[in-house]
Amino acid sequence: MLRRAAGAVNTGRLPRRARVWHHASMVGREELVDAIAGFTLFADLTDPQLAGIVHTFEEAVFAEGERVLRQGLTGSGFYVVLDGEAAVVIDGTERARLARGDFFGEVSIVLGESPIADVVALRPLRCLVLAGPRVEGFLIDHPRVMYRMLQVQARRLRAANRWRS
């Protein structure tokens, strides 16, 4: 009943000629796999792994002005922006903007602390979300994603150091 597909080994990204689809795919959800394949964070993953991510993360939509992360409150998640724009706000002052392909929420999860900023949708915002308690296991299972995340953090740190010096 079960047999290994001849010559099929997942050693890298599979050709796109046979689109991978999946059980909860919706109109547009196959496109979601294609969309996140273009994100730097997921750039090293195979198509089946991308399909797994679309299923592992949840999708969330936020209205303009709605808070996604709340400064000082526990239990937040890790977010990847699919569409829209959000502002990072600390004590009422906007510090940065986030757009398609950007991610946020990981610092407080990694440190086990509450977020030090609000993240507020500036216009309708669509994200993938992974619950905080699942982030460590996800990153360990996807070391290339962890490395990409580290690169982004390194760039942020370098930019912060330049700003200070």
Binding site: M1, L2, N10, S25, E30, D47, G52, V61, P133
Partner: protein
Amino acid sequence: MAELSAPFPPGGYPVVVIGSGPGAIQVSYSLRRLGVEHAVISADPSPGGMFRRWPFLQRLLSWTKPHAPVERGTRAYERYDWNSLLGEEPATRALQPGLMDGSSYFPSRAEMEANLVAFVDRAGLAIRYNCRWTGTSRESGPDGDRFAIETTDGIYRCGTMVVAVGVAEAHTPPGPGMELTHHYADVRPVETYAGRRVFIVGKQNSGFELATGLLPWARQIVLASPSQARLSVETRSLVGVRARYVQPYEDHVLGGGVTVLDAAIDRIEQGSGGELVAHLRRTDGGADLVIEVDDVIAATGFVTPLVDLPALGVTTFGASLLPAQTPWWESVSVPGIFFAGTIGQGAKGLRKYGIPANSGAVHGARYNARVLATHLARTRFEIEPERPIIAPEAVASFMANELAESPELFHQRGYLAHVLTADSSGGLRDDGIQPLAHVLDSEGPDAIVTSLEADGSGAIFPVIYSRLGGRVVERAIEPDPLLRFDTTDTRMAIADLASRIAAG
């Protein structure tokens, strides 16, 4: 043609509720208690919604304990009875346990349906049955914009719609060969799968429910989806496969013949000998696989039957095409359209630690519906519920008791909260149960807000939020292993806040 004696003939109403499942029934009951005139229409011939047909195995996942630590029919009993609707009159309270035969603390589908029929009957609710919603438009009326709801019986007009039609439309995803599968909704009697090889697409409760039912019949069962199966006993929440359906998973790990795979499906083909051939791409890094089976069942879920609301501008999201909602269950993109019942899952709340509210089940949605009815009464019909003043010295005892007994806070953890707001008299006004996300994100006077929450560790504990001078601070109380929520720590934390608010 509709019966002439049917209630709610087509015409204008302040509110139109669509549906006759538990969500619609609870909203209608609660609106009536508040004195909000409304019509209820449903395509079905009788109450019950999805429970008129499902679950497939004819027994619910939500329990009702006939014998509980508290008296049946009390407010505290609702914590142990996940299936009865919320009535105020004794004859309408805790109906489910009285309709169960004692063979299980999970009611059968028929017992649940009887529970809903009995509630409608005893509460004397009116519903116009066999009236199918077919379309929606917006038009200008004498009092501003309103909705025109087209139905098989005629057109209804209203300023406020409450859509409670369930997440009930079978969905089979597109893909090569998917036409060779049949959906969970079209599964045959289990005995017709005797000796057959069955591939179930999907590893959530519906997939494992089918596998459980097919264990005595199918020759071999394979379940596959791209992400790992999660079990509720591991997530320590209702996220994941419920304990009742874990047997196929145990069969898998013990090598009994069930196979559980993490794989995306590339295609399904018709084999030369009548078999179906599924080509799978592993998402766990393993080699791709080919499966030969006799049946492929798509346990791929259901979507929300919103008719033409998306074309009207209602934003949807996720695999179930749920409408995106404000914390008060209103469409984020089309004001005036509200949602109740399991569709209320689209108002996700904070989802702290990834734990969702129970809005997709009766024991969560029934409270959402009652809160929604109060919100509609207050904001759209100027019917203000009573807001009693609690003296500062009584606040700690009052709120601690609410934490201990409130079924709303227990079942909708981290989602619904009890709110007291400062009053110019020096006391605090009881603003009742509100969505926590709304309270935390809105400005207002000083307030004490309490909720029960969980963090995935298995603990359930009170969390007390203060809003003082516009600044919100969260304080979690140490969990009590016996689930006592009115501990000394709780009372002291609330009393401290009450005294600070009283001191101005």
